[in-house]
């Protein structure tokens, strides 16, 4: 049962009052007369005895508490409070002792915790300082890398600008080529159409030329036939001439024979003379015919020779025309193929134009992205610089924390916590 000191003093006062009252009564019953002046002394004695008893207990308790608080003041928290108070009626002193025991335990735990935390803080500060140093080194490397990256980005921007310019020039060139390919396609299509028309016209002309050549060849054949007939007429004329000459010779011989016959051959001589005249006339006519035939034959021969040459020319001309026809077909085929190729080139150039336009757009996007990257890299450089400064500040702070942790550890070294079982603790 808890009883406060006030109650205990009240109970003491009541005991003193009871002693003052009761002692004379008890003595009176025992037959001892008690002088009235003895009553204060009894009260003093009883009060003094109770006061001594209680004050002695309090003094011991306070001395032990003083020892405990002195040890705490020296930082020795290892010793237990160890104040044994066996009281049926605990009071505020017991509460104080328990409070001091709790305070010591709490201080011990606190100091141990602070020591542990201080050690950890010191270790963490060391780790932090090393990490900060590494971070600082990394930041410097990152800063150098970022600076190099910034220069590369600037160079990249220049290259992108040059590439963009080159691609725009290429785009312009491709666009011009596309226009020219379009014009070439138009020309090729027109050439193809004209080639087809030209081939058709040439085919008609070739057919007409073939008809002309066939007519010329028929004329050549007729001339050759005429030449053969003229030769035959010449042979006949030669035969007539030969007959005339023979007749002339016969008439001459008949004249000679008639002359040799004398008067009897005179009539025969007349006939022979007439025959000779006829033969001469026939010979002269035959000679004229032969001359004419010869001239005709000469002319025919010349015409035939010319016709032969013409025939050769016509044959060569027909071969040339066939070659021309084949060539025209090849030309038409080649022009058609060229038109097809021109169309493919035009379509390819158009596709290239669209592709290069997309490429120009993409290059613009890349340029803008490169500019954004440049700005971002510049921000990164500034951030890196600031981070280096921050890291340096962190290094300073880490050093400060380390020093504070060491100072705290130094302070905490004054406390000896030990443990409840009396084991020493630093």
């Amino acid at each position: 049962m808890r009883v406060s000191l006030t109650h205990k003093f009240v109970v003491g006062a009541c005991v003193v009052g009871a002693a003052v009252v009761g002692f004379p009564l008890l003595l009176g019953r025992a037959g001892v007369a008690v002088a009235p002046w003895a009553t204060p002394f009894v009260a003093l004695f009883v009060g003094g005895a109770l006061g001594y008893f209680f004050s002695r207990q309090l003094t011991r308790t306070f001395q032990r508490l003083h020892g405990v608080t002195d040890a705490i003041a020296r930082g020795d928290l290892s010793k237990p409070v160890a104040i044994e108070r066996v009281s049926q009626f605990p009071d505020e002193i017991d509460s104080l002792v328990h409070s001091i025991e709790g305070m010591v335990a709490g201080l011990r735990a606190l100091v141990e915790h602070v020591q542990t935390t201080s050690d950890r803080v010191s270790q963490a500060a060391g780790e932090l300082m090393r990490s900060t140093g590494q971070v600082s080194t990394g930041n410097e490397e990152i800063s150098a890398t970022v600076s190099e990256l910034a220069r590369s980005v600037i160079e990249q921007q220049k290259l992108l600008h040059d590439a963009n310019t080159a691609i725009r020039e290429i785009a312009s060139t491709i666009e011009r080529n596309s226009d020219r390919a379009r014009e070439a396609f138009g020309f090729a299509a027109e050439a193809n159409q004209k080639a087809n028309s030209g081939v058709d016209v040439a085919r008609l002309a070739i057919e007409k030329m073939r008809m002309v050549f066939e007519g010329v060849e028929q004329s050549v054949a007729r001339v050759f036939d005429l030449e053969a007939k003229t030769r035959h007429v010449n042979q006949i004329t030669s035969f007539i001439t030969s007959v005339a000459q023979r007749t002339n010779l016969l008439s001459l011989n008949a004249s000679i024979e008639a002359a040799r016959a004398g008067e009897a051959g005179r009539g025969f001589a007349v006939v022979a003379e007439e025959i000779r005249k006829l033969a001469e006339s026939a010979g002269e006519s035959a000679e004229e015919i032969a001359k004419l035939i010869s001239e005709i034959e000469t002319d025919t021969h010349e015409v035939a020779d010319e016709m032969r040459e013409s025939s050769l020319g016509v044959r060569e001309g027909r071969e040339d025309i066939d070659t021309i026809a084949h060539s025209l077909e090849h030309i038409r085929s080649a022009v058609g193929e060229a038109a097809t190729r021109a169309e493919e080139i035009f379509l390819g150039a158009d596709s290239q134009t669209q592709d290069i336009e997309r490429m120009v757009g993409a290059m613009d996007e890349v340029s803008r992205a490169a500019e954004t990257n440049g700005v971002a890299i510049e921000g990164v450089v500034n951030t890196s610089q600031r981070q280096i400064v921050s890291t340096q500040e962190m290094e300073g702070c880490s050093e400060t924390v380390t020093e504070l942790a060491e100072q705290l550890a130094e302070v905490l070294r004054r406390f000896e916590t030990g443990d409840v079982d009396g084991r020493a603790a630093s």
Partner: protein, 154 residues
């Protein structure tokens, strides 16, 4: 060049051309005019001098023109006719004379050679110079040439 029908035979001449010159023989001395053909060789005689011709189955000796008329052989063309000469009407030797061309019959008398040559007379007929030959002299000259050639070969 034509002759009247009533002219006598002995009054007519046969004209022919040799080496560009015009010659004439009396028609009475000419048996026939034959066409020239290849000559066959006479034994012991060179073909450049004379040869034989098939004349109606008989061998007709033919003397070269250059031999009888004293011509240059290299300038002569191939003959077209052969004149068959018979100086004597009642038989006797016949001789062939090559001619380049037979001109025809003209009116005129024959002549006899007084010299060694066969040409008896030079006469102008129709404005042309005609050498009138002596047929007997031609035959005699041919015989002399053959004999000389035979003697030379022997």
């Amino acid at each position: 060049m034509s002759a009247p029908a009533a002219v006598a035979a002995e009054e007519r001449l046969l004209t022919f051309e040799v080496a560009g010159s015009l010659y004439a023989l009396p028609i009475a001395c000419v048996v026939e005019v034959a066409e020239a053909s290849a000559l066959a060789c006479i034994p012991m005689l060179p073909l450049e001098l004379a040869g034989v011709l098939n004349f109606h189955g008989d061998a007709l000796p033919v003397m070269r023109r250059e031999t009888l008329l004293d011509l240059d052989a290299q300038e002569l063309p191939e003959p077209s006719h052969v004149l068959v000469l018979a100086p004597r009407p009642n038989g006797g030797a016949k001789l062939g004379l090559c001619a380049d061309r037979i001109e025809g019959l003209v009116v005129g008398d024959g002549a006899r050679s007084v010299g060694a040559g066969p040409v008896a007379e030079r006469r102008s007929i129709d404005g042309r110079l005609v050498f009138v030959l002596d047929a007997e002299r031609l035959v005699a000259r041919a015989a002399e040439a053959i004999e000389a050639s035979l003697e030379w070969s022997e």
